[in-house]
Amino acid sequence: MTGALDVNEFVAGYLVEVEEHLSASTANLLAVEAALRAGESSPRPIRELFRALHTIKGLSAMVGVEPIVDLAHGMETVLRAADRAAGSLSGSSIEVLLRGLRSIEERARALAEGKPVLPAAPELLAALTALDLAAAPSPPVPTIGADPEILAKLGPGERVQLAQGVAGGRRALRVDFTPSPARTAEGVNITTVRERVGKLAEIVKVVPLSVPASDGAPGGIVFALLVLTSAPDEEVARAAAADGVRALTVEPAVPPAVAALAEREPDEPVDREPQLRGVVRVEVARLDDALDKLSALVVTRFRLARAAAELRARGVDTRDLSEILREHDRTLRDLRGAIMRARMISVKELLERVPLVVRGLGRATGKQVRLEIDAGKAELDKAVAERVFPAIVHLLRNAVDHAIEPPAERRRLGKPEEGVVRVSCFERSSNQLELSVADDGRGIDRALVARRAGRPAPESDAALLDLITLPGLSTLDQATKTSGRGLGMDIVRRIAVEQLSGELAVSTSPGAGTTFTLRIPLTLTIVDAFSFLCGDQLFVTPVAGVEEVVEIDAARIIRGPAPGEARGGSMLPAAGEARGGSMLPAAGEARGGTMLPAAGEARGGTMLPAAGEARGGTMLIERRGEVVPLVDLGALFETGASPARRALVVRRHGAPFAFGVTRVIGQQEVVVRPLEDPLVRVPGVSGSTDLGDGRPTLVLDLVTLSGRLSAGRGGRGALVWVAS
């Protein structure tokens, strides 16, 4: 039993690692392709590709996935040849290698899903072998002035890398690090040196040299680091704990090619990437679990505080206890911060797969697309990253499929044939990320969209967004291969706005292009929230969404007309009918009958009223000269209507909306748990939290709710209509 479990864990770890190598490899291969287009060679990405495939091969052999071993081996061979050929690959071989990566990915996925792993396609293996045989002839390799011992270990790819660096204005240096017990005791070893030097310079190669043991080099070993840098010599020397540096002379491109070099072993220990040391990969589920445990701790913390307060009320001296509680508070906060940090991934990592997506789309549509990515330095919660990625893919599809014109049309319009799609990202605030996908295509045709939707042409970008995010709307007559039917913009909106409590905006100009902007929270889990009562039910809502808490003077509420029914209509049709169970005689039983369950929807539908049917008609209040619609949340939710004395004012697309509540209780940080189950996933409710009573309290998203209430059937909100 435990044995089987271990194997599963091992395979899970294997899959994670393979996936990482695959995505890095894809990025590297695309970099090679880009370099090829620019007429440059790309020794570094090719070497990294080679290493990645070598690692995949080794891991797969350990797990016993022969098809992947075969594929990785074939690709590794091609890449070794390419590396020896100073980092060049032909366009056709890039295509074959990409197919190879996809093939490996498919097999890894099959393994993950417990399906049979298909053998490698013989035709693909043959293509790889053919590439190896037809390996590009070696281009001239630059001459490097260095010790023969070092030269012997320097491959042509590395020589080209050095020459390119020098040509690019950096200096090629050799700096030596001599390990010693004293230095090790100070925490200075080859790994830390690599890290330090790596910050100042690009490390091309680290060559271990054996030297006679001496006082200066008691270990009899010296590491020669060959680097490219623009940093001052002294800084590089200091980083390597060396006395000085030596310049390497680089004479570019003198044929003939170097003859038979010693084959480098790619995974010799000193050649490992140092950044990965000390990194543990953890499944998000485990971090979720830790967070769950922590929220349990937060709950007992509340109870503790309450108990202390009771003691105090009874006249007990609780000063010591209070001090401990404060300390406890701080520790909890720190612990929470630490777990949250562990859940963060960089936006760069999130966008790693974007180049492949765009490349595939460009090929499928025959359009030329240049992708520009500015990922910035932001990090976001893994759970948010996973949710937002499909939205990014949708936006990229739309950009390439619908927005960017075919080359001929672009030429006619006087635009460069190559379209540009730009993905950029920056941290707007400490808790919000702005992610935009922009293209220089044809822009959105408002008139066409309006015609399709059967609505008047939208005047503003916000109104246009409302139209294009209608489910099922498409501006293309034919469903295209890549986009399927419809634009899928409703999905993007749903992800950004409803799932992530974020915002979606568009700006478009005819002929010049379109930019979609997503504003999403970096983390979902902990928010500063107001707690309030509606009737007798307690709710919380993020402080960030609330513009103001206002007092309401009941005498100054204006009630609008209430057309239609006075009771709440339902926006979702009920699936079943209300019906009781029926009595049927039970076969051969003397008990008189069995009550049958009947598919029931006793009340059916949802309680959210449709626009204009808010209970008791629309109420309006005036705030600083602005007319604000007011809805009593207690009445809306049937938790008990009350004369609303307080209201939480939110603003959506610039339009204010007030929610009347019975009483505002306070403000505190809450741990929000998303509600995942379809039974309880409803617009306006973003999750649940525990305020310390052991019962779930709903976290409301009032901004979304206001949108639901005012986005009427007639386009602009009916409630707003009353105001004007």
């Binding site: 039910q537 049927l584 029931g600 006793a602 959210l608 509600l675 379809p678 039974l679 409710v685 779930p696």
Partner: protein, 145 residues
């Protein structure tokens, strides 16, 4: 082959569900209502640190809901990757039902009950209905939009 089943009562009628699906059973003292959900969603409860949606089987079976009593139980089931609580009037018994004892429900019953009843079985002179947990928690529908 016989399998353990949990016997539960909804309005004096006895049903069974396979014990394999059941995570645990808890007493019930009310749930947090979620506005906008279907009528048979009783709300959310927190059980062992986990927030679980509850399906009120009375309402699901087309009956009026009832005030919770000391006998009321939430049976937490795990089905298709989801964890959902079933609110029942009582659940106190676990029985062994041999595979051969389970019979398909009469056709008229199958239709009437929208597929909620998967089989009927006689245990010691009592007739019980095996309910389809997947249907009850609505595996085919996803109205979250």
């Amino acid at each position: 082959m016989s399998e353990l089943h949990v016997v539960l009562k909804v309005a004096d009628t006895e049903y069974v569900i396979s014990a394999v699906d059941v995570l645990h059973m808890e007493s019930f003292a009310g749930a947090t209502r979620v506005p906008g959900t279907r009528s048979y969603v009783g709300g959310l409860v927190q059980i062992r640190g986990r927030v679980v949606p509850v399906v009120d089987l009375r309402v699901r079976f087309g009956l009026p809901s009832a005030e919770p009593t000391l006998d009321s139980r939430v049976i937490v089931v795990q089905h298709g990757g989801r964890t959902v609580g079933l609110l029942v009037d009582s659940a106190r018994e676990v029985v062994n039902i041999a595979e051969g004892e389970l019979r398909p429900p009469p056709e008229v019953m199958a239709e009437e009950s929208a597929g909620f009843v998967r089989a009927v079985a006689k245990i010691g002179g009592r007739l019980v209905m095996l309910v389809d947990v997947g249907r009850i928690i609505g595996e085919e529908q996803d109205h979250g939009s």
